[in-house]
C-alpha cells in the first residue's frame, strides 16, 4: 500500500483522499500459521529454535460442515503442527485473535501445547498462562492439570 501511494501524482489537487480503507487485521489461526509452543517437552524446546517456526498444517474443528478453504482454529481447538520436520498434534492455548466472550483474554502471541494422539500432553509443564475456561471443559482438563498459571 505504501508503494502505491508513492506512485500517485502529488501535483494533482483534486485527489483529496490518498488513503485506503483498511479493515482491522484478523489474527485467526489457520493453515501455515506460525505458532509458539509453550511446553517444556524436548520437541517443543527444539522446535522453537529450529530454522522454521512451528506451523499449523491442519485444524481439527468439531463442526465438519465447514466447506470454505479457510478453516480457522481458536482457543481450545486441536490442530496438527509441523515441528522440526515432524507432524504433531497440539491444542491452542493462546490466541492473538480477540474473542468477544466474557473473561476470555487476548494473548500477544499464538501459544500451543503439544499432545499425542490420545490427547495427553507431551510435556510436564506449561510455561505460559492459560485461559481459565480450560478448567471447566472436560476435554481440556489434562492440559489444565499441567498448567502453572491461569488467566
Amino acid at each position: 500500500m505504501n508503494n502505491f501511494v508513492r506512485l500517485l501524482p502529488t501535483t494533482i489537487d483534486f485527489i483529496v483522499h490518498r488513503s485506503f480503507s483498511i479493515t482491522a487485521p484478523l489474527y485467526d489461526l489457520q493453515k501455515v500459521s506460525r505458532v509458539h509452543v509453550v511446553d517444556n517437552s524436548k520437541l517443543a524446546l527444539d522446535g522453537n529454535v529450529y530454522k522454521r517456526m512451528p506451523r499449523i498444517i491442519h485444524c481439527y474443528k468439531r463442526n465438519n460442515n465447514l466447506t470454505r478453504t479457510r478453516l480457522t482454529a481458536g482457543l481450545g481447538d486441536k490442530v496438527l503442527l509441523a515441528i522440526k520436520g515432524q507432524m504433531k498434534k497440539a491444542i491452542i492455548v493462546g490466541c492473538k485473535q480477540r474473542v468477544r466472550k466474557p473473561n476470555v483474554p487476548q494473548f500477544d502471541s499464538n501459544n500451543v501445547v503439544l499432545i499425542d494422539d490420545d490427547g495427553n500432553p507431551v510435556g510436564t509443564r506449561i510455561l505460559a498462562p492459560i485461559p481459565a475456561f480450560f478448567r471447566t471443559r472436560g476435554d481440556l482438563a489434562k492440559i489444565a492439570a499441567i498448567a502453572t498459571a491461569f488467566v
Binding site: 493462546g94 466474557p102 473473561n103 483474554p105 487476548q106 494473548f107 500477544d108 510455561l127 488467566v151
Partner: protein, 158 residues
C-alpha cells in the same frame, strides 16, 4: 463480579467493559478501553499522561492525599528505671545539688591522697627491707604513682 482496575489509567472496570491481554512474558494487563491499550502499546508512560491516576498520584494532585499527610506522629519520651538503678536512685542522682557534688569530690580526693600516702609508706618499708633484690623493686613504684592521680578524677566527672 469483581471490579478490576485498569493497569494503565487506574480507573475501575465494570463488568462488560475492558479487555484483558496476556503479554509474551506471561504478564496480564487489563485495560479499560482501547485508549488505554493503545497508549500502552505506544509505550507511553502512564506517569507522564496527565489524565491517569498514576500521574495524579505522582504529582500529588487532589485534596485527599494532603489531608492524610497532615497527621504527624510525635514520639513520647518515656522515663523508666534500668536494671542496676531504680527510678528513685536515678531521680536522686539527677536532683543532686552542685554543692553536694563538690563535697563528694573533695572527699574522694582526700581519700585518694590518704591511700597514696599509705601506699608510698608501705613501699618504702618494703624497699628498706628488700634492697638486695634490685631492679624489680623500682617498677612497682612507678606504676603506683599513676594510680592515685587517676582516682579523684573518676569520682568527680558526672
Amino acid at each position: 463480579m469483581k471490579l478490576e482496575i485498569c493497569n494503565y489509567s487506574g480507573y475501575k472496570i465494570y463488568p462488560g467493559h475492558g479487555k484483558r491481554v496476556v503479554k509474551i512474558d506471561g504478564k496480564v494487563h487489563i485495560y479499560l478501553n482501547s485508549k488505554c491499550q493503545r497508549s500502552a502499546d505506544m509505550r507511553r508512560n502512564p506517569r507522564r499522561v496527565t489524565w491517569t491516576v498514576l500521574y495524579r498520584r505522582k504529582h500529588k494532585k487532589g485534596a485527599a492525599e494532603q489531608e492524610i499527610k497532615k497527621r504527624t506522629r510525635r514520639t513520647v519520651k518515656f522515663q523508666r528505671a534500668i536494671t542496676g538503678a531504680t527510678w528513685n536512685d536515678i531521680l536522686a542522682k539527677r536532683n543532686q545539688q552542685p554543692e553536694f557534688r563538690k563535697a563528694q569530690r573533695q572527699d574522694a580526693i582526700n581519700a585518694a591522697k590518704l591511700a597514696k600516702k599509705a601506699k608510698t609508706q608501705q613501699k618504702k618499708a618494703a624497699q628498706t627491707g628488700g634492697v638486695k633484690t634490685g631492679k624489680p623493686v623500682k617498677k612497682p613504684e612507678k606504676i603506683q604513682k599513676n594510680i592515685p592521680k587517676a582516682g579523684p578524677k573518676k569520682g568527680t566527672q558526672r
